[in-house]
Amino acid sequence: MSDYKHIDMTYLNDLAMGSNDFMIEMLESFTKTTPESIKTMKESIATEDWKTIGGLAHKLKTSYSFMGMDNMVTLSKTLQNFGLEGENLDEIPNMINEMHEEYFKAEKELLLELDKLKND
């Protein structure tokens, strides 16, 4: 039973097949690259670079699925389509803000999990 509200490690655990090193590598990679991607997305709003936003959302979608963040997978999918198709552009800034907030809620749990794995 998971103690977490924002993440679910079930899928990543299945993929890890008992490898703590793999789990640690994935969590470290996710907590490093996701804030960077969100930052780039925010910067891309100013330059109206919707394709970059769509491309980054495409990559984040897969990463979120590894962390069991299903609501973020759905949000990324929509953001990807809006960005790449150049549709509903006025909704994009709010969606990125929502993603940012959700990530920081999840980050506490991710770092806690990372800490547990390192001390195992």
Partner: protein
């Protein structure tokens, strides 16, 4: 069945997906895996290496971040043009019928959506490709062996045929150099036999 190592090129610009794919597929000890973040690098490596990849697992959306990068579909076309003989498994983040149709149209072995069962499906695809390649290699070897055998039989038959047609080979008829020389007697037009050894006057 003969065992053979399968060389797999994994191509994805998503670092986390690439790591996961390597981790999952490397559980199979008969797989040799090389990873690339761009299709261009994978093609160059395939062309340069002596051992060509048996399988290339390509992300359809290889230009998600770098719009100058070549897409998975373009890489698929290049692999076929360059005759690299690698089977292609196309990965895509979304269920899109156009992506699937285009992939198959240009010769992909399979089109796999990046969902939770994707790695199992990719692994099963690779196992099937490996078995098919082993069978194909065995058929080629067998065909080569049969061709060599038939050539040898043809050569033997040719030699034997030549010998059978030559009755002197078995000594049934003496050969020319062993047969006694016939003495040709000159014939006199008057009807009397002349002594061929007689000294002419």
């Amino acid at each position: 069945m003969a065992s053979k190592r399968t060389l797999i090129f994994l191509v994805d610009d998503d670092d986390m997906y690439l790591k996961t794919a390597v981790h999952t597929l490397s559980q199979n000890r008969s797989f040799d895996i090389k990873q690339f973040t761009s299709g261009e690098a994978a093609i160059e490596a395939a062309k340069a290496s002596k051992k060509k990849p048996d399988v290339m697992v390509l992300d359809y959306f290889l230009n998600s971040e770098n719009s100058d990068a070549i897409s998975g579909l373009e890489i698929l076309k290049k692999v076929k043009e360059e005759k690299l003989h690698a089977e292609i498994i196309m990965l895509s983040g979304q269920e899109n019928i156009d992506v699937a149709v285009n992939s198959v149209k240009y010769g992909a072995y399979d089109y796999v959506v990046k969902n939770k069962s994707a790695f199992i499906r990719v692994q099963n695809d690779i196992k099937r490709i490996a078995i098919h390649k082993i069978k194909e290699d065995e058929t080629k070897k067998l065909r080569k062996f049969v061709t060599s055998l038939l050539t040898l039989v043809a050569v033997i038959c040719g030699i034997a045929g030549t010998l059978f047609l030559d009755p002197t080979f078995f000594g049934l008829i003496p050969s020319d150099d062993k047969a006694p020389k016939e003495v040709v007697q000159p014939v006199d037009t008057s009807g009397t036999v002349t002594d061929s050894l007689a000294v002419p006057k």
